[in-house]
Symmetry: C2
Subunit: 374 residues, 2 copies
């Protein structure tokens, strides 16, 4: 039943308590899913050629996931027919307007309790930095996505007093959270909030008892450095991280610092981590013919020929019985596939080309968000 309380300017009323107080914990991505949510890309100032190549890439991902679980794609009213025409009929398409298509970051964090109930936690959203380095303006429709999704699913909502994105949070489902200082403790997200206060919010809203802070994400990650390009949980106690042996890669030193920090850390149950490495694809840049297809709009991050683009095999999707691993037409694609196959022996490994997604600023993980089933 719906909880009655004051309705704010967001769609529906948030619960007045916190997940921790009510016995909810953040679910891990490797737990069973009720489904996966995506958004349909359309803005021509971010996605080249009127977003059609990106739409084809999103559709390929949805088609790869659909045999394994319910896939729902939210599209704006004007894109519904186009989305329907490009997607297999097994994908659910719902109207869900947004400013851009990064469902990982706009969806609620789903929390679950032992009784099998699922609720959502909505964080504040400001397009990865608001007026201080955010990627576009405005972001009002993005900020409504979490509440709209929960209304469709008829799930209750908590509103956390923190600006954060799903891609900034890696969870083992048991109280351990890994995140980066660059995203959360940043005046462009949460001015005035110090580490202890942020940890308190993560504890109250995600039941995170242990927060492991890394300083930086991947160099060039335009979110400021999301954890989901860098480190992911395979299962409790087991991590997979991006790696490079290329001394010319600006990531070289950060990779080592990240490994050292994680190797020295313990999780919420006091265990050391088993850490696996997957070598990065080779550095990539935006090609002239790609940049030429992007609409120039004031206030949107420009994408120019020769700019580095930020790809990572860690930015993958773990689904029910499947892992969708990005491919980049790169010599390391096969090693990434093999690494995931070894890490997830109980899941099928499917590779999906991700260059068109990376050109827009993220990866396969960034454009999906799982909804847990307990």
């Amino acid at each position: 039943m719906r909880h009655e309380c004051r309705r704010d300017l967001v769609l529906n009323a948030a619960l007045p308590s916190t997940p921790k107080a009510e016995g909810y914990r953040l679910a891990a991505e490797f737990e069973p899913h009720a489904g996966v949510w995506m958004l349909w890309p359309e803005r021509a100032d971010n996605w080249r050629a009127g977003a059609k190549p990106a739409q084809a890439a999103f559709a390929a991902l949805a088609a790869a996931l659909a045999p394994f679980e319910r896939v729902t794609i939210g599209a704006s009213p004007g894109q519904l027919a186009n989305a329907g025409a490009m997607l297999p009929s097994t994908v659910r398409v719902v109207e869900l307007a947004s400013d851009d298509a990064w469902m990982r970051d706009m969806a609620p964090a789903f929390v679950v309790n032992d009784a099998g109930d699922v609720r959502g936690v909505k964080f504040g959203f400001n397009a990865w930095g608001g007026l201080k380095g955010g990627l576009y303006f405005p972001w009002d429709q993005d900020a409504l996505v979490a509440a709209k999704l929960l209304e469709i699913e008829q799930l209750e909502r908590y509103d956390a007093p923190l600006i954060a994105e799903g891609g900034a949070l890696a969870s083992d489902g048991l109280g351990t959270l890994i995140t980066t200082v660059d995203c959360l403790i940043n005046d462009n997200r949460n001015p005035g909030l110090r580490r202890a206060r942020i940890e308190g919010i993560l504890r109250d809203y995600l039941s995170a008892s242990t927060v492991i802070w890394l300083d930086h994400g991947l160099p060039g990650d335009e979110t400021g450095g999301h954890i989901d390009n860098l480190v992911a949980f395979v299962r409790p106690g087991v991590l997979v991280m991006a790696w490079t042996e290329d001394r010319a890669d600006p990531f070289y030193d950060i990779a080592r610092l990240t490994f050292e920090r994680l190797a020295a850390a313990t999780d919420a149950r006091g265990r050391r981590f088993e850490i696996h490495k997957i070598h990065q694809p080779r550095p990539m840049i935006i090609r002239a013919e790609e940049a030429d297809g992007i609409l120039t709009v004031a206030g949107t991050k420009p994408r120019r020929a020769g700019d580095a683009i930020c790809a990572s095999y860690i930015n993958a999707c773990v689904g029910n019985g499947v892992v969708i691993v990005p491919s980049f037409d790169d010599p390391n694609d096969e090693a990434a596939r093999a690494a995931y196959a070894a890490l997830h022996p109980e899941r099928r490994i499917i590779q999906v080309p991700a260059r068109e997604v990376v050109l827009g600023g993220g990866g396969l993980h960034c454009i999906t968000h799982e909804q847990p089933r307990v």
Copy 2:
């Protein structure tokens, strides 16, 4: 589970069979509901004063229904915050763009089977007459509402090869359907389709074994003459109809013809009907200050001071344990309330002012659509 078949230009794929072939029947409105759907009015060329008075009227109806069942209101992206602010927190607000707000006519017809499954039947929609007397242009977003609603609810869909609106169909849930010639057998909806062919479609898609045809609806009904301003089922075998003793009312003769036709008819089980009459409110016209608030837009039916408006107490909402009866600040309001109380002794009777809705061209029934629960 979703059915796999060709995806059309509408959102999702329709089932290739028919409800009748698969054991489904059209549910009656007086059967138990899973909830009621509405749309949020916003177009200033139909609703005066930027639609704010209509929004208040819709919100009052939603608030009256919400204690009795789940109410969901679909709003366009730009109206979500406004709808949220005007509605009680017990009402679910989902994003669902439309051209106007007549959920009765845009929602699917819900069919049910003995196993308790619910599916939707989508008819074609052309704004009550398309380019031959339709009320506005375009209507592409309206035409998507049924499919979008079913995607949200994850219910399967049939597409019926007929242009029809929910307000044109009155059902007893047992195979009897009452409708009007003026709406269904009309070149502005179904050119070239004769009565026998239309009855075949109603049989295949709604399991209607007996179709009772009335010639006309209420005079001035801009839909062409929807049944839902004229006659409704109270329960199987029992009808309630609009009536007038005012010889000056252009409805006077039609009321008598309607009564005679219904009194001579038998339902799908071969029974005669018990017919109750509720006297009409007095004739109403659009006031100058009301007409002044309406935006003039080419292609939209104009609403001028002095134009007759078409109100009826039959255009009411039957919910779980409640009947919402329109009131018009009219001397007959009380008799209408008393009549409904006598007809529905097991339901609470609540009156809600409906003038603002009627000014826009319909009534409380027209702006709601129940979703059955089996």
